[in-house]
């Protein structure tokens, strides 16, 4: 990879959670697909962490997560496994949203 390509690597609009190895990962991937219709959800599995992202905006809803995980889920529980995230974050009681304000 050339230096020039590396330097331009910031030109992307991928946003989304980076989860540590966890029992909720599959449920979050499923919820990401359901809550972001029409968008391609990319999953990059590095075992210790899984990067789940898409272009521009990714929403995860509490109600969807409760269904995909099959149990009650408080939005704040996501933090237990949220090792990092790409983009900005908005945290509410009902959903969490990853997004960029400017598209590159």
């Amino acid at each position: 990879m050339t230096t020039q390509n590396t330097a331009d690597g910031y030109r992307n609009n991928r946003v989304g959670p980076v989860l540590r190895l966890s029992e909720i990962t599959e449920g979050v991937i499923e919820a990401a697909r359901e809550d972001n219709p029409g968008k391609t959800i990319r999953v990059d599995d590095k075992i210790a962490y899984v990067r789940i992202d898409t272009e521009g905006e990714l929403v995860l809803r509490r109600a969807t997560l409760e269904r995909t995980l099959g149990r009650p889920f408080k939005m704040s529980e996501l933090e237990v496994n949220l090792g990092s995230f790409a983009g900005r974050i908005e945290t509410t009681d009902d959903h969490v949203r990853f997004y960029y304000e400017k598209m590159l």
């Binding site: 230096t3 330097a7 910031y10 075992i47």
Partner: protein, 501 residues
């Protein structure tokens, strides 16, 4: 009992600015501590922390995190990792805990400063949790290595390193003092939480966790990635502070703080994380190269978020990217050569297959860094270990406190970037380090590198033995070759057939 949702009460509960009656505002919140840069207190009230939590949520979530980390440790305590792991991996653990654990306590003080002197109520609120987070990190990273101390006293450096004058400890202290111990609340928000934590800590705490999982060290992988979930939250203290500064016309000042912080963080991760990923982790377990992790975390994620907040790339962006190809390889040679001055055993990371991998990931490696390793390998095979050990002092950078070094062999680009300031000559590793010094010379001018101290006669006797004593390295702690030179046998009677660039 029915409880309100957080959003029903949060904004009201957070409104904690008040008008002081008994003292002047400037006495309660002196500029030198707040770093508010003259931005009026009303404007700081626009600060809205994006990653919110409340105290009940915090306690519940942290309890679950700790239960997870400690139970993984307990479950795997008898898995003989210490006996079975590659010695290079054990060296990564020693380097990590020594370089990080007490830095976490320092970060706790910094978070406490934001808790007390942050101008925005939301900043004070989030920093209170951040302070508790950093305490957790220090305690985890002192407790986890402690079980290994009876078997190997180098693990004792998890606690000892920051109390010593060992050169890497001096470099870490100098960097952390600059990024957050000797900074105001606003500067800490920008330099520690935004630049250091949303950016670089991902490299060591998630990137390296990926390698740890490959190695099978799930205890380490679990604890460091658990720590990063705290960072991920309190690192968001910085973003809204940047927005307040930029909205009030302080973009240039904010940009400078970010640029200084990235420059300083990059050096530290280049010497700590770089060799760990590209040399110390056994080849079969490397998830990605250091450069690929930098590309993923720093270029693709961190720099992108910096643009979104309205900042620009650092002026030295291209120069730093160019360093991704060589700086940590140069540091690796320094670590190996001066290995008696480490609290861990240096892994050479050399085998014909490793060299092929390095050439593939960093085209040209064999004709540059490889040439140095050719000579080291030759000397080891000839039984001349003495020729692979230091007899001289390096020239140390007056900013990073690390040896001034770059590309050897073909592509040689090693040079000093000097500066005369008030009658003293300073030396720097690059234009970037020198630029940092020039931004605030009064701040940096009095510090003496380890080599400055040596030349000033502060280290006696003035030889390696005196230096080791000065660095508090006792027998049994002094670094050696992690594999007792066994790696060199792969090259005996089999000259390495260099893969083409």
């Amino acid at each position: 009992m029915g409880l309100l949702e957080r959003s029903d009460w949060y904004d009201l509960a957070r409104t904690t600015n008040w008008t002081p009656k008994y003292v002047a505002e400037s006495e309660l919140f002196p500029d030198v501590m707040t770093g508010a840069q003259g931005v009026a207190v009303e404007k700081w009230e626009a600060y809205d922390e994006p990653y919110k939590t409340s105290y009940p949520e915090y306690v519940r979530v942290q309890r679950e995190k700790d239960a997870g980390a400690y139970s993984v440790k307990a479950a795997l305590e008898r898995n003989r990792l210490f006996e079975d792991a590659d010695p290079g991996w054990l060296s990564i653990l020693k380097a990590h805990y020594g370089a990080i654990a007490l830095g976490e306590y320092a970060a706790m003080s910094a978070e406490a400063r934001m808790t007390r002197f942050g101008r925005a109520p939301g900043m004070r609120n989030m920093a209170t949790f951040g302070m508790l987070d950093e305490n957790r990190h220090a305690q985890l990273q002192l407790f986890f290595p402690h079980e290994h101390c009876p078997k190997d006293r180098q693990f004792d450096w998890a606690h000892k390193a920051y109390h010593s004058n060992e050169w890497a400890a001096i470099a870490a202290r100098h960097t952390f003092d600059d990024l957050f111990m000797a900074r105001s609340a606003t500067e800490i928000a920008v330099m520690l939480t935004f630049a250091f934590e949303t950016g670089f800590t991902n490299m060591q705490f998630l990137g390296l966790a990926a390698d740890a999982a490959e190695v099978g060290d799930f205890t380490f992988s679990s604890v460091i990635s658990s720590i990063q979930t705290d960072e991920s939250r309190h690192a968001q203290i910085g973003g809204p502070a940047l927005q307040v500064l930029i909205a009030d016309g302080r973009k240039a000042e904010a940009q400078k703080l970010v640029d200084v912080a990235i420059a300083r963080a990059w050096r530290l991760f280049a010497v700590l994380t770089g060799p760990s990923m590209d040399y110390y982790t056994p080849l079969a377990h490397r998830k990605q190269s250091f450069k690929e992790f930098m590309q993923e975390w720093i270029v693709g994620q961190f720099e992108r978020s910096l643009i979104d907040l309205g900042l620009d790339l650092p002026w030295y962006w291209e120069k730093m990217i160019a360093e991704f190809d060589y700086q940590h390889h140069a540091y690796q040679i320094g670590l190996y050569y001066w290995r008696p001055t480490l609290w861990w055993n240096a892994a050479a990371g050399m085998s014909p297959e490793s060299r092929d991998w390095l050439e593939e990931k960093y085209p040209g490696w064999n004709d540059s860094f490889g040439k140095v390793w050719d000579v080291i390998t030759e000397n080891v095979l000839a039984g001349r270990i003495d020729l692979t050990l230091p007899e001289t002092l390096p020239v140390v950078c007056n900013m990073s406190q690390l040896p001034i070094c770059a590309i050897p062999g073909n592509g040689w680009n090693v040079r000093d970037y000097p500066l005369d300031y008030q009658g003293r000559s300073y030396h720097f590793n690059s234009e970037i380090d020198r630029w940092v010094f020039q931004q605030d010379p009064v701040r940096y001018r009095g510090h003496m590198t380890l080599v400055d101290r040596f030349l000033a006669g502060q280290i006696q006797p003035a030889n390696l033995a005196g230096a080791l004593q000065y660095m508090n390295l006792a027998p049994g702690e002094i670094g050696d070759d992690a594999h007792q030179y066994a790696w060199a046998e792969a090259f005996r009677n089999r000259p390495y057939d260099k893969k083409a660039a």
